[in-house]
Subunit: 199 residues, 2 copies
Amino acid sequence: MSAAVMTYDRNVGRWEPNARGRLERAALELYLERGYEQTTVTEIASRAGLTQRTFFRHFADKCEVLFAGSKWLQELIVSTLSSAPDSAAPIDAVCAALQAAGVAIQEGGDQARQRQAVIDANPDLQERELIKLARIAAAIAVALRERGVADPAASLTAEAGIAVFKIAFGRWIIQDGGADLPELIKASFEELKTVTAGS
Amino acid sequence: MSAAVMTYDRNVGRWEPNARGRLERAALELYLERGYEQTTVTEIASRAGLTQRTFFRHFADKCEVLFAGSKWLQELIVSTLSSAPDSAAPIDAVCAALQAAGVAIQEGGDQARQRQAVIDANPDLQERELIKLARIAAAIAVALRERGVADPAASLTAEAGIAVFKIAFGRWIIQDGGADLPELIKASFEELKTVTAGS
């Protein structure tokens, strides 16, 4: 999910290839090895073979390494939603947008699973993850209103979509490589249709 | 939502009627008047005509005044869910349990609206509210599994139920006394059925 870019490291006086990606990988490794709380920015930079100064050019703090992708993911979801055909039912447009997010997450390989393991081990990070999802739900509701969907349908579809995404992502994580995330998202939307229809 | 109980205040050497309720009302008043951050426990106790010591016999801190009811609400939802007839569809059992919570919230009069105004003004409290709702969703999923509902249906129904509850509660808050919360919950479940069915 991070673009491969060259970063000029002023401290060592050379251009570092993909400093951001290296910092992300180093941080995840350290968070898993010794715990998120116990890891310092100095250690992350050192593991990545970069300076602290380079770290702070990319991230505000060690928490942001885990959440910098959220904004990007939200933008991807909103733009996919906005470009859905007018004829698409809101729930189907939201499903397609979340599937696009699923494709992107899956392309990141093990990163999403490692990130989730770090988050699962830390209550503060779990809170931040909940906030992230609530923000994405709010952004989806705004995008639906822009498509002409009235409330409460817009908010309900957005919240239901995020509920489905959480369940599908959780199923994908525990299946450990044996499942396709976009397919699980689609299947969970179908399941939601079944459970809401009732007996 | 708080039982009217007599509390013995050791500092003033007498039994105080409904100290807990008085502390809750005093806290809400102060949070709304001067802001949550700016209010101290000393001020809350003083406004309630009680001592700090009495405050701490009822609440761990000034945040708990706002969230002490959550555990009680969760227990009400879970017990209502567990006592639903076996023949009830999971989504209908969850709807009935959340309607029971709606009745209890409504019986508290203005308290829920005042509490929400305090929470809306403070990002930290908004996070805690999200955590509270996530916990209730997890508890509903457990109760559904105990009723024999398999996953992912149990988790999906629980998450969808909380999504519906959030929307209905938000609608109730803005209608400012002009609506019935349990009815709004029921209507939002119907709306969810409509939006998930798609075009």
